[in-house]
């Protein structure tokens, strides 16, 4: 399969680094950044966009609406 575009948008300032999305992702797409946002949280970043299947589990688990997965074109 061709390498997919990065389909997950993460609002790094809203993210609190709770990592529930990281824990639930079956493909290991997500991980914590090495940097912190303005609130001092290590925020979640997309580490392996090519592995994402748009299952939406990360969105479901996120308590902060920090994740958005736009519809496919």
């Amino acid at each position: 399969m061709a390498k997919k575009k990065n389909t997950i948008k993460i609002d790094k300032e809203r993210c609190k680094g709770c990592s529930l999305c990281i824990g639930i992702c079956p493909q290991g797409v997500l991980g914590l950044s090495d940097e912190v946002n303005k609130k001092g949280h290590r925020y979640v970043v997309v580490k392996h966009p090519e592995k994402c299947t748009r299952c939406g589990l990360c969105f479901i688990m996120c308590p902060d609406c920090s994740i958005e997965i736009p519809g496919e074109e």
Binding site: E13, R14, K16, G17, C18, S19, L20, G23, I24, H41, R54, G56, L57, F59, I60, M61, C62, P63, D64, C65, I67, E68, I69, P70, G71, E72
Partner: protein
Amino acid sequence: MKKNFTKPQSMKDVPTHYCPGCGHGLIHRLLCEVIDELGVRESTIAVAPVGCAVLAYDYWDFDTLEAAHGRTPAVATGIKRVLPDRLVFTYQGDGDLAAIGTAEIIHAGNRGENISVIFVNNGVYGMTGGQMAPTTLLGQVTSTTPNAREAKTEGFPIKITEMMAALSGVTYLERTSVSSPKEIMKTKKAIKKSFQTQLEGKGFSMVEVLSPCPTYWGLTPIKSMERIEREVVKEYPLGAIKG
């Protein structure tokens, strides 16, 4: 899959003050999704509690009234009786509903008030610094049970939802959790059923949602969800309790 995973319209675009991994953010999103799906945003009136969710009116894009601690079901009664065609729901924590507000919730249920109650049970008082709640488990350490909760001196975790099942005025009661995507979707389904029960004029309904409090459980968010699945559901089993 063409689904657009995005913030519901009924939720304001405001970052919340809740701790990382707190269940409130999840439950807020679910009830807002349901309100969007039912198309009732403009006829919804919510009653917010005292507790961590006291600032809920900053996050919900519909009319929200702040009630005194525990009085939420009485306040909702006042609103629903004068505006019976609106969707009126209360959102309460375990202190608001199961401690100071025990009389109000029982009697709102007993009168069969046609309202919906979302009862967020995280077994601890978050806002005020992690004190014991009526729903705290035996053996749990909190700031007012530093030597762990003991039945002899602190009593047992209270099962308000089971108690309310005995009331004839109550139509639908369910306990769910937010510990995994599967449980989160069940919570959403239960909230929708509760709101529909109200919109169809069928009487009082309540959804008790087992929710994590990583800060005062002293666990990471992921471990908190595991604790719900491992420990909390043993004391507070999931499923429909009535209706």
